[in-house]
Amino acid sequence: MKKLLSLVLICALALSFASCGGGGKADEKIVYIGVNEPATGESGAGGKQETLGIEYANFVQPTIDIAGETYQVKLVIVDNETDTAKCPSVAQSLVSAGCSVVLGAYGSALCIASGPTFEAAGIPCIGISCTNPQVTLGNSYYFRICFLDTFQGKVLADYAYETLKARNIYCLAELGDDYSVGLVNYFMEEFKALGGNIVANETYPVGNSDYTSYIANAAKLKADCFFAPINIEPAALLIEQSNAQGLAMPLLAGDTWDSNVIAEAAKGTNLNIAFSTFFYSEVNDTTKQFTEGFKKWLKDNPDKLTANGGNDTVAAVSPLGYDSYFVALEAIKAADSKDSKAINDALWNVTYSGVTGSVAFDKNGDVDKDAIFMVGVDTATGAFKFITEQSAAK
């Protein structure tokens, strides 16, 4: 019996050797776009919302014309489990599925871990909300459509110094997370340059659930602002515990906090929360139109609404994901081909005006977005409230 079982398994292995072929067949009228996002793990909530933006874009514009023929655009969505060790295999599965271009991922660490695989395969990637400069640096196949942490760090430091009038800041990052460690680093550089003081710069290990000591440290060191640009799930715990411990100083964070999980956690607390983000729905007609359409789409698809966290709050990463899809389509149109190399060449010259601002890539593959929104949380209702729009020109 056992022999038979092993025999069957070996046969299966041999068969798949024989049946192995490439992904998409050349004669099909389909363009595959890969979506490399976390759906589980620490960044799962954010990754899902980013994916929703892409799916909505695919719903709005499901076809594309290449060389006079209409092609279907199909998304290949994979889950990288917020695990940098899983990224290479997951990335390879997108390569093997025959994707022409890949979108994602949420979180800089995941992008950095996936980057080399796509580079080796010659497939261009469009980063959506990965703000660490290292993602595109030295990788000619990685692009990104959001601002960088050098810029975000500067804006946040300005905001802390000028608006919050903070002089002593406590910084918290996640150990080994390129995003939070990087952003804290750029923030500290700028804040010190302004004349402020960093009372401590601490890290917590991945999967940590006890933040009371960090909160106590901040209070003990007499900080007047708590800077914690950390992932959504730890942030929700931090907010909860800050409230329980009666944290008196404002909490400041980066773009990851633009999530309904944060809004939910902050509801009913006595905290003062502010963060920087890519998008605010009430800015102009384009953003309003997007928000309306996206909310309606969520309402029509109950499982999408669940993936968005059970309500129709629009996270900034959704419109960014939406834009990334259209940037990819622009590049395919410009290349007039679904060949990855041609798309990669075309991407350098693509310009596109989306709901989160205009996109044009520089020599690193980054965009020069100079607008950033500071948003707070109305703790009574659990809704986001617009604070100010800041730009680097200041």
């Binding site: 798949s16 992904g23 969505i77 950095i112």
Partner: protein, 360 residues
């Protein structure tokens, strides 16, 4: 079967395997998941075999494999990142302390040696402990190593908790197969030597083995160091496959996963470990990925399929094996050419005899 015949057949098979891989790589689409399975499968084969060397042949229950892999992977990465990239990667540590590179093969061996050295130190402390305490203590050491490698005071060497990248990867699938093949061959030789017999004697009965003049502690330490050496090389290879290294990914869960693969293959069978590794990676990375995809046939949504289902199926299979097929795929048997040859000749003889019988 004579010894000469066996050597000829084995070398022919090895040449055939490598030749086949070479031809496959030339003719097939290398983006296919098949090559992921081949590369990662080979690496896992080495790692699982290294665990099996301890668990299956020496009876030492260790859950610290991830720690030794971490040592190998970091050593490899630190010494092979091109000097011009260091400024960029060690961005918070002014380019780091190490400002030279060594060849890939040397870095792999060095990784193994570093892991072996630490295994020697750790083994000295923990190998006196009994089975489950040993498991927990090795697990503890792996966690401590992980914390040390994430410590920012050592950042000039380890880059703190930040990612290491830009070091060389595999140019061909033949490379991991070659390295792993050499290591596995060395392991087989070891097991069939007098050392290997001492290991097995110790596994079966420590007290009897001691009475026979085997120095328990020395033998255990030797096996632990050798196994960790291979784990270190496997860690280096894994780094080459992943193209990035980060301490936070070498968790206890990774050690558990490898141990469970060893159980699937059969505790005490190296070929079982190899077979199980390839099957596990193939199923996990390729064949069963569809279990994670929501799939529709027309408007009908196939129930249960969604993110995470693959892992559930896997863990159920593992539990079934643990409970009902405790010996795994191969038990303690090894897949050998002699064995197959003998079976075939016996089969032919039997048939001949049957024919002869019918003719009479």
């Amino acid at each position: 079967m004579t010894n000469k015949k066996r050597i000829i057949i084995s070398s022919a098979l090895i040449v055939l395997l490598f030749g086949g891989l070479w031809v496959m790589e030339l003719t097939m689409n290398t983006a296919s998941m098949l090559f992921v399975v081949l590369k990662k499968g080979a690496i896992y084969a080495l790692l699982v075999a290294a665990i099996n060397l301890l668990q299956g042949f020496t009876g030492l229950f260790s859950l610290g494999e991830a720690g030794f892999m971490l040592l190998g992977a970091y050593t490899f990465a630190i010494f092979t990142i091109p000097v011009e990239m260091r400024e960029n990667i060690y961005q918070y540590y002014d380019g780091g302390l190490v400002q030279f590179t060594i060849p890939v093969w040397a870095a792999l061996i060095l990784g193994g040696l570093v892991a072996a050295f630490f295994a020697f130190l750790i083994g000295f402390v923990v190998l006196k402990l009994k089975s489950d305490y040993l498991a927990i203590a090795t697990l503890g050491f792996a966690e401590i190593l992980r914390a040390i490698f994430q410590w920012d005071k050592l950042g000039v060497i380890t880059n703190g908790s930040n990612i290491l990248r830009s070091f060389p990867g595999f140019s061909s699938v033949l490379f991991p197969f070659g390295v792993v093949g050499l290591c596995l061959a060395a392991m087989m030789l070891l097991i069939n030597s007098s050392y290997g017999r001492a290991y097995k004697a110790m596994r079966d009965d420590e007290i009897a083995a001691e009475a026979m003049g085997i120095n328990l502690f020395k033998t255990k330490l030797q096996a632990f160091v050798i196994s960790s050496f291979f784990a270190g090389i496997g860690g280096g290879l894994l780094a080459m496959y992943q193209l990035t290294v980060k301490a936070s990914t070498f968790t206890a869960a990774l050690s558990d996963e490898l141990l469970l693969i060893a159980v699937i293959g059969g505790i005490g069978s190296i070929t079982g470990s190899v077979l199980a590794s390839f099957l596990y990676i193939a199923a996990n990375e390729w064949w069963l990925r569809f279990l994670d995809q929501e799939t529709f046939i027309g408007a009908f949504k196939i129930p249960l399929l969604r993110s995470g289902f693959r892992k559930v199926v896997f863990s159920v299979i593992i539990m079934l094996i643990v409970l009902f097929y405790r010996r795994g795929l191969m038990g303690t048997r090894e897949f050998s050419i002699t064995g197959i040859y003998e079976k075939i000749t016996a089969f032919i003889k039997k048939k001949k005899a049957a024919k002869g019988g019918a003719g009479k």
